[in-house]
């Protein structure tokens, strides 16, 4: 059921953001038609490296929805993070290095016939992915303040789980690797400041599922879907 909630929450957002880039591009392309010089949805190629930074916040919905719901009471939560982005001197190509953090408190549980029985023992879960992405920015001649982008890359997902009464060996502090894809659109408020909406999907296979409730629910993927808002600084 939690999975369904996540799907209901994120699917439209992902769908909207997913559509945003090509749709905007199409509009730009259509508007550009009378103008012979607009043969591409891309803005004119950048000639230099541009570097910017951003702060981000949003929501994450984990693929292992039942496991997160069983321990934390919900399978979604808030995230906060930041990163840097470098525009490269080849068209809209850019690279991005960002990280965010999810943290929640719950309680340990026992699962019996798919029923979750909470045991009242506090547990802290922290997920901190570092995402290294490469992508392409789409600029529009008539909508000069908008930029759409799409990217993909590697994820290093740090997972930390600690609970009361545990020994260090019983706690988890591991980093797993996976990959992600993302898409979004940025609006420049000024030359140096902008806001962006972005959706991403991450998969980190076989990170969980060998113990804990994730084993009981046979959920192995530590990834998930995020909907993030960004405040960007830089050109």
């Amino acid at each position: 059921m939690s999975g369904a909630i996540v799907t209901r929450f994120f699917a439209p957002a992902v769908f909207a953001v997913g559509l945003l880039a090509p749709a905007a591009a199409t509009v730009a392309h259509a508007q550009a038609k009378p103008q012979p010089r607009s043969t591409s949805t891309s803005a004119r190629p950048s000639r230099s490296v541009s570097i910017g930074g951003y702060g981000t916040f949003g929501r994450v919905g984990f693929t292992a929805a039942e496991s997160f719901d069983a321990i934390l009471g919900e399978s979604t939560g808030s995230l906060f993070g930041g990163g840097m982005r470098a525009g490269l001197p080849w068209g809209g190509l850019f690279v991005d290095v960002g990280a965010w953090r999810f943290h929640a408190e719950g309680e340990r549980a026992f699962v019996f016939n798919d029923e979750v029985i909470p045991l009242g023992i506090p547990v802290d879960v922290t997920v901190t992915p570092i995402e290294i992405s490469g992508g392409w920015r789409f600029r529009f001649r008539r909508l000069t303040k908008f930029t759409a982008y799409a990217a993909g890359g590697f994820t290093a997902m740090k997972y930390q789980e600690t609970s009361e009464f545990s020994t260090p060996a019983e706690d988890a502090d591991e980093t797993y690797t996976g990959y992600h894809v993302l898409g979004g659109a940025e609006y420049k408020i000024s030359r140096w400041l902008g806001v962006a909406g972005e959706a991403s999907w991450t998969t980190v296979p076989d990170a969980i599922g060998t113990a804990g409730v994730s084993q009981a629910f046979n959920e192995t993927d530590l990834g998930g879907t995020t909907l993030r808002f960004k405040i960007t600084v830089g050109r």
Binding site: A64, S67, F68, A70, I71, L72, G106, R108, A109, F110, V111, F112, N113, E115, I117, P118, L119, G120, I121, V123, V125, Y159, E161, S163, F165, S166, E170, D171, A172, A207, I208, G209, T210, A211, G212, V213, S214, Q215, A216
Partner: protein, 525 residues
Amino acid sequence: MSYSSPPRIATGAAVVALMALWSGIGHGQLVPGPVAKAMIQDTGLPAIDRGLRDQDPPRAARTGRDADRLRSASGAALPYVRGSIIVKFKEDATGGGISAATAQVAGTIADRSSWADFDIVSIPADTDAEAAAAAMRARPDVAYAQPRYRNHAMARPNDTLYANQWNFPAIEMERAWDIQPGASSSIVVAVLDSGMAFQTGTLRYISRFPFRPTPGGPLYPPLGVVDVPFAAAPELGASGSTRFVSPRDFIWNDDLPVDLDGHGTHVAGTIGQLTNNSNGTAGMAYNVRLMPVKVIQGLWDEIFGSPFEGTDDVVARGIRYAADNGAKVINLSIGREEGGPATVVTDAIRYAVSRGCFVVVAAGNTRAEGNQQNRLAIGAPDIAGMVAVGAVGRTLDLAFYSTTGPYVELAAPGGDQRQGGTSAGILQQTLDADQLETYTRPVSQYGPPRADSFAYEFFQGTSMATPHVSGFAALLMQQGINDPAAIEAAMKQFATEKGPAGRDDSFGFGLINPRATLRGLGLAR
């Protein structure tokens, strides 16, 4: 006729009665009467604490044969009671059908006992009860029928404070208590056993008949009227306190299930011995309340002529009573190896589980003597919420006596004194055998027992393993797992595997692991 005649008659009768009483006290010639047990004082001196008894020599192991020793001497050397059987008629059974069925075995139905959904059908004393039960089972109106098999304590009482309780560190109880410190008084654990030292006072019994404690041994004379001082075990709780709830004696059919054996008090100690009180020994779930339910008799109960003995129907009634009176865990450190299935008990256990009770039964102590299975425990695999418990010794190897079989689901410390001597048993406070079992003395020194003197004694047996699991269940309930089936699943899931991979007939799913079970599951760990 003179009006002075009645006083003369009364005086004469009184003299005759006094002479008869005197005669009875001295020679055991009392005319058998209906009352053989009466509370004559409900207060008494403080209990006597005779300390740790770790130097006692090993005592003879108790088996079903011992349980039958007195009544066997009277010719009842069968694993069941003669002259009656247990029958449950189907809901749609007609009066004609019931009459025809009982007529087939020349039987009559007695008034139904309390806490029973079955009937006791009296049959001729010389009728083979097993054959009669089989004939009844073949009838279309009968749901089940079985002889009134006798049950006995599973303990092997043997001969010795927390440092001596190796059994708790062996299952990491210190760390488990960090998570769940002893449950609470909201959990009631029923101990269906030989009674419990839960009250202080004096009980008057009548010993009418001579007996031989051992076949071929000396004949011990009747003691006549005997006033037995008894006391609440200091390490269980104060007499009259809220520690003890709904006491019931199905052996004497009253509300005074005092322990005249020591087995039940020892078992109760492992479940709920007062802990962290700077005295004596610890218990698994030391804050729970205890329900003393007496369903098996000790030798003294037999000497005093208890009206009932620990037959299947009595055990079944005890289980139903406990379930109906608020017990959440039922401990059955009892059983029998002989005879057929204990359908009436299994039925009662199903009822108890349906009422939210978790039922724990000893696997049995017969591995070294033919490995006969405990008939009360064999239904465990079919009932989610009931477990049968085997025993391990100090080395955590299977105890020499622990019965193996497909019904064994878990193992817990029960002690193995062949692998470590007296102190390798399970230590708890119980009745002081020296003061209680006066029938072990020469006839010339034989006298009334004291049930107000206590000692810390090492016992071994699956009877001792079983209360570890009962206490464990109480801790899990306090932690939030209330469904008996879920408790069983949790215990099995987190058990420390012993023996061959997977379930096996010796350890079941393994040695109980209270800490891991109470800690449960994290998200990924």
